[in-house]
C-alpha cells in the first residue's frame, strides 16, 4: 500500500492508496507513526478515497493511532470511505469516537475552527 503525506498547517493528511489488509497494516502503521513524529503534527486525517480494499486490520490501524494521539490533545478524522469500508468501521463503532468528513479540506477547516475558538 502506498501512502502520500500532505501537511496543511498543523494537520498531517495521510492519503492511502491500494489494499489495506493485515499484510500491509504493519508497514502502514510504522510509516504514519514516523510521519507524525517528523512533522510534529497535532492533527491526523486518514484519506480513504483511493483505498480499494480493507478488512478488519484497518480498524486496528486506526484505533491504534487514535490511542497514540489521544495521549495529547489532538484531533483525528477519517475522509472518503467507500460503503463497504464504512460498514466495517461502523461495526467497531469507530465513527462514534472519530469524525467523518467527505474531504480532507473539510476536516482541516473544522480543526482550524476548533483552534481559534
Amino acid at each position: 500500500m502506498e501512502i502520500i503525506f500532505n501537511v496543511m498547517g498543523n494537520t498531517l493528511i495521510a492519503e492511502l492508496l491500494g489494499e489495506l489488509d493485515h499484510h500491509a497494516a504493519d508497514s502502514v502503521r510504522q510509516r504514519i507513526d514516523s510521519a507524525l513524529d517528523n512533522y510534529r503534527a497535532q492533527n491526523l486525517v486518514f484519506d480513504f478515497n483511493k483505498v480499494t480494499f480493507m478488512d478488519s486490520s484497518g480498524i486496528g490501524m486506526i484505533l491504534g493511532r487514535y490511542r497514540k494521539m489521544g495521549e495529547k490533545d489532538n484531533n483525528m478524522a477519517i475522509v472518503g470511505c467507500s460503503k463497504p469500508i464504512r460498514n466495517i468501521l461502523n461495526m467497531a463503532g469507530v465513527f462514534s469516537i472519530i469524525d467523518y468528513y467527505n474531504t480532507a479540506e473539510e476536516a482541516v477547516e473544522v480543526f482550524d475552527r476548533k483552534e481559534v475558538s
Partner: protein, 144 residues
C-alpha cells in the same frame, strides 16, 4: 458438482491478497454484485489472516481452501489450517475479543465474517487446527 475448487496455500500474510483474489475469481462465476464480491473477499481475507496470525503464529503452515456451489447461486467456502486451534470458540467470536496484548488488533475478524456472509461455522480443536465454513447466497442477476 464438478465446479469445486481446492487450493493449498502457505499460511503467510504475503498470501492474503492471493487468497482473496482466488475467492473473487471463483465467486465471479455466479455473476455476483460488486458489493457481494467485496463482502466475500473481505470474509476470506479475515479467515486466511486468522490462520496465518493465530493458527500458525506467523511461522507459516499449510492453509487449505475449498470452494463449491451448493446451488446455482449459493457459494460455500471452507478455510482450514492445522495450527494451534481455538480453546474457546464462542469467546473468540465475541466482537472486540482479541488475544493481542499490543494495541493494533481489533478483535473484529469473526464479526466481519458473520456480517458479510449468511452463515458461518467454526470447527476447532486445540492442537489440531481450525476450519471455518462460510455460506453466502448471491443475488445474481439471472436468479431473479
Amino acid at each position: 458438482m464438478g465446479k469445486e475448487l481446492k487450493v493449498q496455500l502457505e499460511g503467510i500474510l504475503e498470501n492474503q491478497g492471493l487468497a482473496r483474489a482466488i475467492a473473487a475469481a471463483y465467486v465471479s462465476q455466479a455473476d455476483p454484485t460488486v458489493e457481494e464480491l467485496t463482502e466475500v473477499k473481505t470474509a476470506v481475507s479475515e479467515a486466511f489472516s486468522n490462520a496465518a496470525i493465530h493458527g500458525y503464529g506467523m511461522k507459516g503452515g499449510t492453509v487449505n481452501m475449498e470452494f463449491a456451489f451448493t446451488s446455482k447461486d449459493t457459494v460455500m467456502i471452507k478455510i482450514m489450517d492445522k495450527g494451534v486451534g481455538i480453546e474457546n470458540i464462542a469467546m473468540a467470536m465475541e466482537p472486540l475479543y482479541t488475544t493481542d496484548t499490543g494495541q493494533n488488533r481489533s478483535g473484529m475478524g469473526f464479526t466481519v465474517m458473520e456480517s458479510f456472509m449468511d452463515r458461518i461455522k467454526v470447527d476447532s480443536k486445540p492442537g489440531e487446527g481450525t476450519a471455518v465454513t462460510m455460506i453466502k447466497k448471491l443475488d445474481t442477476y439471472y436468479g431473479i
